[in-house]
C-alpha cells in the first residue's frame, strides 16, 4: 500500500486540533507579522494517526525481530523506562525552574552519576553531552584543556584503523591532526606501531574497547602505560561498554576518559536515530575541566553550578557544551534500567551478551569466515571470504537476510577486514531466537554456492515495501524536500 506524503493529503482549512479563538488584543509584532501562507497541509486527526501508523508499518525494529546491527547494541527497550520518563515530575519540568522546585531532578542526575562512576571506577562524570560523538568532543576538549593548563600544546591524536568514524572526526573538529594506528593479525592495536608513534606531540590516543572487531584489547594495560609515559591521555570510546559492564571497570585499565552511550549499554531507545545521550567519565586529572553545569551538594540540597567560578571549583571548566543540563529524558530511562538490573543484573548483561555473540560465532563459524580467532566479546566479526567466487557481495547477502525477516548486521565496518559482517545479537535475544537465526544464515550461506546465486541475491530484497533504492541518483541531484507539483514542473522545464 502506497502512503502519500502529508503534503499530498492536505486540504485548506482542515486541522487536527481545535483551538479557542484568541483573546482580542492589539498586535505587538512590530510590523513583522507573517504575510504569506507557510504552506503547511491541513489534515484531520484520523488522517494523521493513520498516516503515521502506516509509516511505522514500513519499519523494522527490535520489537519486530532480531536486529543484529554490530556496534549499535540493539537490545530490548523496557517500557517501564518510557513510563518513568513521562512522570510529570520529570517530563513536565522546565530546566530553568528555581532550584527548590527541581530537587528530585538533581537527585536523579546525582544518582545516575553515582552508578556511572561506580561501574567505571572513575571519580567524575559529565552528564551533558547529547550523544556519543558529543561525548567524544567533550572528552577531547577536557584533554586539551588539561594539556593547555600545563602549557603543553600537543598537536596529534592517534586513532586505530578500526575506529568509529566519529573518533577521527572529533579529533579533527578539535583541531588535532589524526594519525592512524594499524591493527595486528589478532585484530588488536599493534602495540609496537603505537609505541613508535608516541612522542611528546601526541595529545591522546582514542581507542574503542572492546574494539569494533568485537575483541577485547588484551594489551590495553600496556597501551595505557605507554600512553601515560609519553605524557598523553587515554581516551576510550565506550560504545561497546555493554560487553564488559559490571565485570571490568575502565579505570582499572588505565583509561582517563570515556564516553558512555546510554542508548546502547543502558537501553534508552534508539528512536530511528536518536536522541542519544553520551555522558563522559573522567579521571582525577581531567575532572577539573568538566563542562558546565555541575550538580553539587549544597547546604539546601542539590545545586546546579552553571557559571565557571573559583568558589565552586569550576574555574577550569571547558564551558558549556549544550543548552540546559543534558538529556534528562534519557537519564531517567537509563537509571530505571540500571535500578532494574542492579549490580548483579548488569554483570549478567555483559556475560549474556558475550555468550550470545560467541554462540553465533560457534554456530556460523564453519559457513561464514570469521576474521579473527575466538573468543569474541559481544559481537561476532566475519569477512567476505566465504563469498569468494560466488558473485554475491556482502551487501547482497545482507539484503537477502531482510527477506528472511531479519535486519542485516553491520556491513563493511570495521574497515580492517574485507567486506565485513559484524553481528551483535545482544543479551536480550533468547537461545531459540539465535538458533532460528543461525539456521537461516546457514541456509543462505549454502545458497550462495548454488547456481544462479549471484542473480538471486542481487535481486533481494523482494518482500519489502521498497526494493533496493538508487542511492547514487539521490546524491547526484538531491531532492531534499517536497515541493508543490506546479513548482516541480517549472523546475523540470
Amino acid at each position: 500500500i502506497e502512503e502519500p506524503l502529508i503534503f499530498e493529503q492536505g486540504a485548506e482549512g482542515r486541522t487536527g486540533v481545535d483551538l479557542p479563538a484568541p483573546p482580542a488584543a492589539a498586535d505587538r509584532l512590530g510590523g513583522l507579522a507573517r504575510k504569506g501562507a507557510i504552506g503547511l497541509p491541513g489534515l484531520s486527526e484520523p488522517q494523521v494517526v493513520r498516516h503515521y501508523t502506516r509509516l511505522s508499518q514500513k519499519n523494522f525494529a527490535i520489537d519486530s525481530g532480531l536486529y543484529p546491527l554490530g556496534s549499535c547494541t540493539m537490545k530490548h527497550n523496557p517500557r517501564l523506562n518510557e513510563r518513568m520518563a513521562r512522570l510529570p515530575g520529570f517530563g513536565d519540568l522546565h530546566p530553568l525552574q528555581p532550584q527548590a522546585t527541581i530537587q528530585g531532578a538533581l537527585e536523579l542526575m546525582d544518582q545516575l552519576a553515582h552508578w556511572l562512576k561506580t561501574l567505571t571506577g572513575m571519580p567524575a562524570v559529565a552528564l551533558s553531552p547529547a550523544a556519543g560523538a558529543h561525548g567524544e568532543l567533550c572528552g577531547i576538549m577536557t584533554i586539551r584543556a588539561a594539556l593547555e593548563a600545563r602549557g603543553d600544546m600537543r598537536q596529534r591524536i592517534l586513532v586505530p584503523e578500526s575506529a568509529h568514524g566519529t573518533n577521527p572526526a572529533t579529533a579533527a573538529a578539535c583541531g588535532y591532526a589524526v594519525e592512524s594506528i594499524p591493527a595486528n593479525a589478532r585484530g588488536r592495536v599493534d602495540l609496537e606501531a603505537l609505541k613508535a608513534k608516541l612522542d611528546s606531540g601526541v595529545a591522546a590516543i582514542m581507542l574503542t574497547n572492546p574494539n569494533t572487531c568485537g575483541l577485547f584489547e588484551s594489551e590495553i594495560v600496556e597501551i595505557a602505560e605507554a600512553v601515560h609515559k609519553a605524557g598523553a591521555f587515554f581516551y576510550c570510546d565506550g560504545a561497546n561498554f555493554n560487553a564488559i559492564v559490571g565485570r571490568v571497570r575502565p579505570a582499572d585499565l588505565g583509561i582517563d576518559c570515556m564516553h558512555i552511550n546510554l542508548h546502547k549499554t543502558f537501553s534508552t531507545p534508539h528512536g530511528g536515530g536518536g536522541p542519544g545521550s553520551g555522558p563522559v567519565v573522567l579521571a582525577e586529572s581531567l575532572a577539573p575541566y568538566a563542562p558546565l553545569p555541575w550538580v553539587v551538594h549544597g547546604p539546601d540540597g542539590f545545586r546546579l553550578v552553571e557559571e565557571a567560578d573559583a568558589a565552586s571549583g569550576t574555574a577550569g571548566t571547558i564551558g558549556r557544551l549544550k543548552g540546559f543540563h543534558g538529556q534528562m529524558g534519557m537519564f531517567v530511562r537509563a537509571l530505571a534500567y540500571m535500578m532494574s538490573h542492579g549490580g548483579d543484573g548488569l554483570r549478567q548483561v555483559a556475560e549474556d551478551a558475550v555468550l550470545n555473540a560467541n554462540y553465533l560465532m560457534a554456530g556460523l563459524g564453519d559457513v561464514l569466515t570469521a576474521s579473527f580467532e575466538g573468543p569474541c566479546m559481544h559481537e561476532a566479526l566475519f569477512d567476505d571470504r566465504f563469498l569468494k567466487d560466488t558473485g554475491v557481495t556482502t551487501l547482497d547477502f545482507a539484503k537477502a537476510m531482510i527477506d528472511e525477516g531479519y535486519h542485516p548486521m553491520t556491513m563493511y565496518f570495521p574497515l580492517v577486514v574485507h567486506g565485513a559482517l559484524l553481528m551483535e545479537p545482544t543479551e536480550t535475544e533468547s537461545k531459540d531466537s539465535l538458533d532460528q537465526f543461525i539456521a537461516v544464515i546457514r541456509a543462505l550461506a549454502e545458497r550462495t554456492r548454488q547456481p544462479g546465486a549471484a542473480e538471486w541475491f542481487h535481486e533481494a530484497p523482494r518482500y519489502t515495501p521498497r526494493r533496493r533504492l538508487d542511492e547514487t541518483a539521490a546524491a547526484r541531484k538531491p531532492q531534499l524536500r517536497w515541493r508543490p507539483p506546479a513548482v516541480t514542473q517549472q523546475a523540470a522545464e
Partner: protein, 445 residues
C-alpha cells in the same frame, strides 16, 4: 531478570556448543588486574514496582510545570501536545528502530524525516533543512562552523540578545576548534548595532529572533549589511511557534537558520532531549552538518527515500567530515512532525495568535502594577519586565506559593538583577494570570 531470556540451562548448553568451560573463559582476554571477581557496590536488581516507586518518589520532589501557574520560557516552552503525538511515537516500529541505514526496511523513518525536512524548510522560509541536530544551542554552534567553512573566514559576531547558553556553547567550541567569536554584551535595551561590526573577516553574524528578551526584530537591514561584506546571517529561533505569526528568517535574508524545535511536539523534559532545527540555502547544502534524507526511486521505479549526501559525514569521511555528528533527535523529530501535521497551516497560525494575544494581555496587566515596567515594545509570546527589586528573590518567593514566575536575567549575567523574562503560551489561563498578578503585587508591597 525479566529482560534476560537465557535460562541457566540455556547457558550450559550454549557454553557446550561453544566449547568453553565457563563464561569466565570467554573473558580471558581481559587482563587479570581488571577482572572483577566480586560485584560492585551497587544495589541488586529490583522489580518494576520497586523501581517505579523509587523514581516516582524522586519525581514527586519536583514541582511539575503543569501543576502551577507557569510563566517560564527562556528557550524552552510549555505547549499542549496532542495525545496522538505521544501515542504514535511510542509505537515500537519507531521507538526501537535504528538510524535508517537499510532503506528497504526503514521507509517509515525515512519518509517522516523527509516530511520533517520539508516542514522545517517551509517554516523557516529556507530552501532545505537537515534531519535535525541535538538542540538549538548545538545547532547554532554548527551554524557558525559551517559559516566558517562556507566563507573561509574565522570570525563570527554574536548578538548580545542571543540566549546566553547558545552563546556559551559557541564560545566553548570556538576555544577548542580555534576560531574567533565577538560576543556582544547582554543587550536588554536593544541598542546594539550589529551591522557596524561586520567586516571583511566576518564569517557570520548570529542573531536571535524573537530575541532572548522577547523582542521581535526586523533583520533585513542586517542581512543586507552581512551580504555586502560577504558574511552570512545566522538567525536563531528558540520559540519555533513564533513562525506561525512572524515573517520567516528566510524572507528576511537569513543564510542559515538554527532553531530549537522543542515547542512543537516535545515536552519540557528538564531541558532534554530537544530537537535542533537547521536550515539553509540550496547552494550551501554540501557544507551542512547532520543527516539528510533524499528522494529517489527503487529498482521497480517507485518513489522512495534514502539517507543521502553522506559523503559529508563522519562514518564516510572520518576526519574530513563536516561535523562529527552521528546521532540526530530522531524521535523528537517524529514528535515535531506529527504535532505540526496535526496543527497544519490553520492550527499553527491560530496557535501563534493565541500565544501572542495572551502574552499581550499579561504584559498589559503587569505594566499596570506600580513599579513594574515592560521592556519590550514588540514581542511574540515572551517579554521582559523591569522590577523595582531583584527578580531572583521575587521568583524564589513566588515559587513557594507556588507560582513559577519566569526566569531572572541574573541567572545568566550580573548587572541586570531587576529584569525578569516571562513567557505566556496557550496553556496559561486567566486564573493563572490573576494568581501571578496578585502574588507579584503582594510581594512588591
Amino acid at each position: 531478570m525479566r529482560y534476560l531470556p537465557l535460562t541457566e540451562a540455556d547457558r550450559r548448553d550454549m557454553l557446550a556448543a561453544i566449547g568453553a568451560p565457563s563464561v569466565d573463559a570467554l573473558f580471558r582476554d581481559v587482563p587479570e588486574v581488571a577482572r572483577r571477581k566480586d560485584g560492585l557496590d551497587l544495589p541488586p536488581h529490583q522489580g518494576e514496582l520497586e523501581v517505579e516507586r523509587a523514581l516516582s518518589a524522586m519525581a514527586a520532589k519536583n514541582v511539575a510545570a503543569g501543576s502551577v501557574p507557569f510563566f517560564l520560557g527562556g528557550g524552552a516552552y510549555r505547549h499542549h501536545v496532542p495525545a496522538a503525538v505521544d501515542h504514535l511515537i511510542q509505537r515500537g516500529e519507531f521507538l526501537t528502530s535504528y538510524t535508517p541505514y537499510q532503506p528497504e526496511v526503514t521507509q517509515g523513518t525515512l519518509q517522516y524525516l523527509f516530511e520533517f525536512q520539508t516542514q522545517v524548510a517551509l517554516l523557516t522560509g529556507m530552501d532545505v533543512a537537515n534531519a535535525s541536530l541535538y538542540d538549538g544551542a548545538t545547532a547554532t554552534a554548527e551554524a557558525v562552523t559551517m559559516a566558517n567553512r562556507v566563507t573561509g573566514r574565522r570570525r563570527s559576531v554574536l548578538s548580545g540578545s542571543l540566549h546566553p547558553h547558545y552563546r556559551e556553547v559557541v564560545e566553548t567550541l570556538a576555544r577548542f576548534v580555534g576560531f574567533r567569536v565577538d560576543s556582544q554584551p547582554l543587550d536588554p535595551a536593544g541598542s546594539e548595532d550589529l551591522a557596524a561590526l561586520v567586516d571583511g573577516e566576518t564569517s557570520c553574524v548570529v542573531v536571535q529572533n524573537p530575541d532572548f528578551f522577547g523582542r521581535v526584530r526586523d533583520l533585513r537591514p542586517l542581512a543586507e549589511a552581512c551580504h555586502a561584506k560577504g558574511a552570512l546571517l545566522v538567525v536563531v529561533v528558540t520559540e519555533i511557534v513564533s513562525l506561525g505569526a512572524l515573517t520567516s528568517p528566510g524572507e528576511m535574508g537569513a543564510d542559515i537558520v538554527a532553531a530549537e524545535g522543542q515547542s512543537i511536539g516535545n515536552g519540557l523534559n528538564f531541558g532534554g532531549p530537544y530537537v535542533g532545527l537547521f536550515a539553509t540555502r540550496d547552494r550551501f547544502v554540501r557544507q551542512m552538518p547532520g543527516r539528510l534524507v533524499g528522494q529517489t526511486v527503487d529498482a521497480e521505479g517507485r518513489r522512495g527515500w534514502v539517507l543521502t549526501l553522506s559523503t559529508r559525514e563522519q562514518h564516510i569521511r572520518r576526519e574530513k567530515a563536516t561535523s562529527n555528528i552521528c546521532t540526530n533527535s530522531g524521535l523528537c523529530t517524529l514528535a515535531f512532525t506529527i504535532h505540526l501535521s496535526l496543527l497544519g497551516e490553520a492550527g499553527l497560525t491560530q496557535l501563534a495568535a493565541i500565544n501572542h494575544a495572551k502574552a499581550a494581555k499579561l504584559a498589559d496587566r503587569l505594566a499596570a502594577i506600580p513599579g513594574v515596567t515592560v521592556l519590550n515594545d514588540t514581542f511574540f509570546n515572551e517579554f521582559t519586565v523591569r522590577l523595582p527589586r531583584p527578580a531572583a528573590g521575587i521568583v524564589d518567593a513566588l515559587a513557594a506559593r507556588p507560582i513559577i514566575a519566569g526566569v531572572p536575567v541574573s541567572r545568566f549575567a550580573s548587572g541586570h538583577d531587576d529584569l525578569l523574562v516571562l513567557a505566556v503560551t496557550e496553556t496559561v489561563t486567566d486564573a493563572d494570570m490573576d494568581a501571578l498578578v496578585t502574588a507579584l503585587e503582594e510581594s512588591l508591597r
